[in-house]
């Protein structure tokens, strides 16, 4: 190697360090402004749109004294910008006010409900990725074949079906008719009182405590909603995998790999998929974020006591603090996953890795 080439590599190294610093800086700016934006929007929804925010929080049956006190407590006599400042400060401290419906601080309710949602969305994404990635790969490799057509139709229906309706049909078939799965809830009533969760992820908790009857019961409850979410995520993941794989299979390095005499299996799974895996991480993360959102409807159908059900229950009761708290909770995780997937992409791609 020539001296000039050595210097060029060294120069690229320091340039890369600067690039990484600036991308971390950019990342922080984006994270902060996006989160402030989320708070601004929920502030706008909670304080500006309603003609009387106190009424929106308390309902119209509250006595005048309580209304006056709440008005002062909410700081509604202050200028709007100052109200927003207090709002942001409280939100950063995890204070989203009190839920009228449960009389708990909204944050307490959210803490209780969140593991249920995470458990459901995680399982759904796992199902989606485990089936969706191989399906997408096969569809790309056998482009135009029967399996490609089937994958395409499965994907299109997944994009087009109302998830709550499919959930209802699933309940009719697998719960009412076939009795394969348990009724809509997280656990049978018997276990609700005897089982003490540790992490809040019931499958994990039951396995850790060796209570396999509880594990089986929890599984019978989660399998249908998780498969449903898994299907939605499969539709998205398989379609994106196919498109990434087609892109990779058309590259020159695939021709080179064939010229080396590698087997098709090795070329597809060892080279093409490895390259597609970099953008796939983003796709799977996005699909996870979408499932968190999709949980609002799914949890309602399956009486799954997660954050989605919490939001919809609060909605029916005009419990604005709870609705906005839940929105911020899901929004924050959604934003975090979006940003993290972007960061992960940079880490996984050797072209941007420091080395």
């Amino acid at each position: 190697m020539s001296v000039a080439e050595n210097q060029a590599t060294a120069g690229r190294g320091s340039a890369r360090a600067t690039a990484i610093l600036s991308s971390i800086g950019r990342f922080l700016v984006i994270a902060i402004t996006t989160y402030l934006g989320l708070l601004a929007v929920t502030f706008f929804i909670g304080r500006v749109i309603p003609i009387d925010p106190v009424l929106a929080v308390l309902g119209d049956r509250a006595p005048t004294a309580v209304v006056e006190r709440t008005r002062r407590e909410m700081g509604l006599d202050l200028p709007l910008i100052e109200q927003f400042y207090i709002y942001v400060k409280n939100a950063l401290n995890g204070d989203f006010g009190t839920s009228v419906l449960t009389t708990n601080p909204v944050m307490t309710d959210i803490r209780r409900a969140f593991p249920a949602t995470i458990e459901l969305a995680t399982l759904g994404t796992l199902i989606g990725a485990i089936i969706g990635v191989p399906l997408g790969v096969l569809a790309a490799v056998r482009r135009g074949s029967l399996i490609d057509q089937v994958a395409r139709i499965i994907g299109l229906i997944g994009y087009s079906v109302p998830v709550f309706w499919l959930g209802l049909l699933g309940l009719v078939l697998f719960y009412a008719k076939l009795r394969w799965v348990a009724f809509p809830a997280r656990l049978d009533v018997v276990y609700e009182y005897t089982f003490t969760p540790i992490t809040g992820f019931y499958l994990l908790d039951a396995a850790m405590q060796g209570q396999w009857d509880v594990f089986y019961d929890a599984f019978r409850h989660i399998v249908l909603p998780a498969s449903l979410l898994g299907y939605l995520s499969l539709a998205y993941i398989s379609r994106m995998t196919r498109s990434f794989m087609l892109n990779e299979l058309g590259q020159e390095y695939i021709v080179a790999a064939r010229a080396k005499g590698l087997s098709e299996t090795r070329i597809i799974w060892g080279h093409a998929l490895r390259n597609a895996a970099v953008p796939m991480v983003t796709v799977i993360a996005l699909s996870y974020a979408n499932l968190l959102e999709g949980s609002v409807l799914t949890e309602t159908v399956f009486s799954w006591p997660g954050i989605g059900l919490y939001i919809t229950n609060s909605l029916q009761n005009a419990d604005m603090n709870a609705v906005l708290g839940g929105t911020i909770a899901i929004g924050s995780v959604f934003i975090a996953i979006n940003l993290l997937s972007d960061l992960l992409y940079r880490l996984l791609d050797p072209r941007t890795k420091a080395g």
Binding site: E252, A256, R258, A259, G261, L262, P350, R351
Partner: protein, 281 residues
């Protein structure tokens, strides 16, 4: 098989067709030549079918392409009749190919060393440590100074010249007898081109390999190869020794020759390549 040693590759009436919406596109239309342990240059402008000829020999034409030939034999093996498995075993082991641009032809997410080792371990039962040693030796053979460092680098971390040397190492490690180099230096800086050509030249003669050198650059080919085939519109229009290039008969070859600038000659008006439809018939 002593008679076969002089001829490695026999090509007779090779045709490559692509069916499209508007009918058949004939990329290669009846090409014939043979190759011994020598350097054969294939020259032509883009679209002349020279690259598809190379890919057809490798068996790397796109799936929709139809390849036919009266003879397409490597060391007595009928390539078109050979099962896919046998052809695959030949690729990389006995026939190798170097592509144009290392930026695209090396896997971007795999380290250079692993890509070289991969070729070796596909064709030979070799342990990990031995494979690594042989890959390092191969990197040294293509004149990379610090093989153990380059071994762990990813393709984007090296220059084009070094990438192409790594490509050569990757393709030569299993010891092929024949090599197709498809525009191996066209994507490189002019200063690096000669280095890479020198390495290729030395390795090919040291190992007594047959080389098909595909290029659009007539001067490069004539200085580098023993024999030259000139292709136009999917056909061979002229076949001659590199040393006799000045006596080329065909007007297309003469046109290509005239396009090359020479020091001390007036270039007004600038010669334009003549393309007559009857040559393509």
């Amino acid at each position: 098989m002593s008679g076969k040693t002089s001829t490695l590759l026999e090509v007779e009436d090779l045709r490559v067709n692509f069916p499209t919406r508007i009918g058949q596109v004939q990329a290669v239309r009846g090409v014939s030549f043979s190759l011994g342990r020598e350097r054969l240059g294939i020259v032509g402008e883009s679209g002349s079918g020279k690259s598809q000829t190379g890919r057809a020999i490798m068996g790397l034409t796109p799936p929709q392409a139809q390849v036919t030939a009266r003879t397409l034999a490597f060391d007595g093996i009928d390539l078109l009749a050979a099962p896919a498995r046998e052809r695959r075993a030949l690729r990389g082991k006995r026939i190798a190919m170097i592509l144009q641009d290392p930026k695209y032809s090396l896997d971007p997410v795999m380290s250079i060393g692993r890509q070289i080792v991969e070729t070796l371990r596909t064709h030979e039962k070799v342990g990990k440590a031995e494979a690594r040693d042989r890959a390092l030796a191969m990197l040294e053979a293509v004149q990379i100074r610090d093989p153990s460092r380059v071994f762990d680098l990813h393709p984007h971390e090296v220059s084009g010249g070094m990438g192409q040397r790594a490509m050569i190492a990757m393709m030569l490690i299993a010891g092929p007898e024949m090599m197709i180099a498809d525009e191996p230096t066209s994507a490189l800086d002019v200063t690096v081109q000669l280095d890479v050509l020198g390495i290729l030249d030395r390795l090919v003669s040291e190992r007594g390999m047959g080389l098909i050198f595909i290029s659009h650059d007539l001067r490069l080919v004539s200085s580098f190869c023993d024999r030259v085939i000139v292709m136009y519109a999917g056909k061979v229009v002229e076949q001659l020794k590199a040393s006799e290039l000045r006596d080329a008969q065909h007007p297309y070859t003469r046109g290509l020759l005239n396009c090359m600038p020479r020091i001390g000659f007036e270039r007004h008006p600038l010669p334009v390549l003549d393309r007559k439809p009857e040559w393509a018939v």
